[in-house]
Symmetry: C2
Subunit: 273 residues, 2 copies
């Protein structure tokens, strides 16, 4: 994330209610996600933070120092490198505890996971991406794929497609228009036409199965969580792995309870609000 230095100029009216220092602080934290994803680095030096965040050396220094003092970064005195600190995870709790969807979904996801012996996840859409908000892990998997908060493009994931399928035509098109269609695996379908066909299929069938679209060996199944108008605002997702599983087995054993779980959450949420 490169901070827009001329934010005020770029906006219609200079936003005097926007505190740039806050954005810059987050830009530093954000550098760690980028650094991990693009360079595979767990910790970053000051100059790396500077490069990735786009902040100059002095700014990196000040914001990094600030974040260390606040407990959101920690510094290895030996290597002089920084890494995310424990203070960060409190924000997950803050979000979840005030999230009515999570409260309703959690027991249902746990129940489904236990009853069917698989991992069961909840996803919520953000821009062109989906985020895994709740994970109830049940098999070992790639470490990345077991952590809540992971972000994936909507266009190549079952939960993303199933949410797009249950939005208005315009909404879906807007999201697709700003998607980058970068492949995640060698099997990722990146042709926009093919992606649209998958969305149509998901709309007709009420669920979506993705094979190795975002992770090798993974068969991902998802069904939408709908509000009272039938608009998707979340998805239940279950991953299983090849070669133990085939799409045939998934259709028989996984699809029904994924749909059922998503429907149960939709129903409870409807009553709540």
């Amino acid at each position: 994330m490169i901070v827009d230095r001329n934010r005020t100029a770029a906006r219609r009216r200079p936003d005097t209610l926007f505190v740039g220092s806050v954005e810059k602080g987050f830009a530093v934290l954000h550098a760690f996600r980028t650094g991990q994803r693009e360079l595979g680095l767990r910790d970053l030096s000051l100059s790396q933070i500077s490069q990735i965040s786009g902040l100059d050396k002095s700014a990196s220094q000040r914001f990094t120092n600030t974040l260390v003092e606040l407990g959101y970064l920690e510094k290895d005195q030996r290597t002089r490198r920084y890494r995310p600190a424990l203070g960060l995870i409190g924000f997950y709790y803050t979000y979840m505890i005030s999230n009515p969807l999570a409260e309703i979904a959690m027991p249902r996801l746990i129940e489904a996971s236990q009853a069917h012996g698989t991992t069961v996840n909840l996803c919520e859409p953000v821009g062109t991406d989906i985020i895994y908000t709740i994970r109830v892990p049940h098999q070992k998997a790639f470490f990345r794929a077991t952590i809540p908060g992971r972000r994936m493009p909507a266009f190549c994931t079952a939960p993303g497609l199933v949410i797009l399928a249950n939005r208005t035509e315009e909404e879906a098109e807007t999201i697709l228009a700003s998607s980058d269609f970068e492949p995640m695996t060698e099997w990722t379908i990146t042709d926009p036409k093919a992606v649209r066909k998958r969305i149509e299929k998901a709309r007709r069938e009420g669920y979506c199965i993705s094979v190795q679209q975002s992770l090798t060996h993974e068969i991902s199944t998802a069904a939408p969580v709908l509000d009272s108008e039938g608009r998707a605002f979340a998805a239940v997702q279950v991953p299983v792995y090849m070669p133990e599983w085939t799409t045939g087995m998934v259709e028989e054993k996984i699809v029904p309870f994924v749909i059922e779980t998503a429907r149960a959450i939709s129903g409870s949420y409807f009553i709540e609000s």
Copy 2:
């Protein structure tokens, strides 16, 4: 969290590398945790944010606006109230993905959960508290008790005590000295002498069982994750509930695999570093 307005004066040397605006931004986010815990509020009005954070009206306005623009808060245009937004949960991922302990622990926790049919958690210490960093849920429980990022006082939780038991005398004393010994349930042991006895017991036995100390009906079992010097830097914890479980059953069925899982994580971590 009340922001120290005279931070520079309060510190030995005025810290020119500390950006106060960042702290204030986090103070606003922090207000939501406090608001939820102390007032049970899911969303907050501007004036509530102002009251809880200690920032004045203007500051609350600016920082709240900023956080909304950055996607860390969302505003209900109807009620004009704010609540934590999805952007926040990315920080959990950022922390976890760069955390070697988590990577080692995750598959072991999943395995243990599956093998023994219980929830299995990992906790890390912060100041006088412990934080649940990984949760592998397996039974339904209080919603709060299923969310990673939850913070609890060390003195009244099995993982907290078992970590204190495997620190130096001074370290443990320092932490206890700044603990507030506020009871969490009507059975919480708050007498410092009794707490020290529990720590000694945990040190001798290598594990700790807590009955209804932080949550009613909960029997909590924990064992320490140790570094090569024998210092605890995390704990494996398993909660079960009364009356289905008794301490006798826990000693027989739970304790052995909690110790075993913690030991396995310690061992792998040792090899890694």
